[in-house]
Every structure is written in structure tokens, then in C-alpha cells.
Symmetry: C2
Subunit: 129 residues, 2 copies
Amino acid sequence: MMESRISLITLGVRNLELERGFYESLGWSGTQPDPTICFFQANGLVFGLWTELGGYGAPGIELAYNVRSPEEVVGLLEEAVAAGGTLVRAAAVMDWGGTSGAFADPEGYVWEVAHNPGWSIGSDGSVTM
Amino acid sequence: MMESRISLITLGVRNLELERGFYESLGWSGTQPDPTICFFQANGLVFGLWTELGGYGAPGIELAYNVRSPEEVVGLLEEAVAAGGTLVRAAAVMDWGGTSGAFADPEGYVWEVAHNPGWSIGSDGSVTM
């Protein structure tokens, strides 16, 4: 069971400073946990700009669905494959400390499925950094 | 001023029935206002699958930001251009009854800016169909 919600939308960017500056000119406020990525808290989800997106995912944009435990990552990937999706990356512990895997929907759009111990998920599914 | 929120994420699809079925197999529930599009209510935003996306926008995915009045569409497009974005479509009344225009960010990602009289926007920016 996948709740109908989206946790993170990430745009692959070449010039992070330029892109971050554009959204900040419009009033958004970003934070950079490292030099490759900038996160903006949005309405119950996070919007990201990342210089290292690529090699998997829909061209330029990746969606992510965050779950409440590392075990749920594995379970949801299995459900997605059973529903007709394709496994893109098996669940694994990532260097940023969370657990992540990915599936593609029938037309190839990739969803990362992640457990991030640093982000909280509200009862309504909203994600807060 | 653009609030840091996202109203709609639309994936361009070839086989709407297949794609809708995949997300419904995972537990989502879609509605089709017409045969070309399927909307799913998500966490304060709407997720769409559309067979006619194309010709503009990031490959395969378009983001949208909904505003509370038709006049705000024009104003936000002007602000985006002033911030370094590019006008993609000027504000116009659409055949579905709303007002819509679009800008691209500095790396070409397109945001539709729309006023949809049929969707409500909460005080926190959440969009409900």
C-alpha cells in the first residue's frame, strides 16, 4: 500500500547557485546540507535542486516517497514490482545515513523510496525537514 | 512573491489506462475529468497523468503553481521573468475555464501558473480538487 503522497521532488541542475538564486529571488529559502544539493521546504513536501541527479530517473526530475521505517522501503519496492513496476535500485543503506531504493512505473518514471531518519513524516504524510 | 509550494505535478504518459492502473494497484484513487487526464489527490497537492503533455515543459513532467485569482497569474509571470526566468506562455483563459500561463526557470524547467476556479487553496497553500 502506497499512500497517495509525494515527499520530495528533485530537479537535476547544472548551475546550483544560479537555480537557487532564482527561487530565492521569488521568495523561497533554501538550505544546502552539502555543496551538491539545495532543499526548500514546501507544502508538506520538499523541493530539491541537485547537481548529481542522473543515470536513473525521468529526465531531469525524480520523485520520492518517504516511509516511516527502513523495513518499509523493501516492502514497498516489492509491492511496486508486483503492481507492474520495475526495480531500479534495491534497498540499501546510503552514505547520508538513510535507506533508499527505487522503482520505475510502467512508463519509466522513477520513484525513490526512502527512509530518512532526519526527516519527520506527519500523520497526514507531510514531510518536514 | 511565490510561496514555496507546489500545486500539481503532471507526468506525460502514452498509455493512461496502464499508468492509472499501476497507481491504483498501489492504493491510489484517480478521477478522470476527461479521457486525456487522470488526477489523484495527494498530500496538499494533485498528481496528474496526462496524454497531451508535450511541446513545452521539462521532458515528461510539468510542475504547476496555483494562485488564488486570475490577476495573480499575470503578476507572478512578471515576477518570474524579473527574477531571471523566461516566459513560456502568456496568461490566457483556457478551455477548461481557468487562467493559465507558464514560465521556465534558468535551466528550462517549466512551471505552469494557474488559477483554477474549481480547486480550492487552503491558507497553508494546500490544493484540494
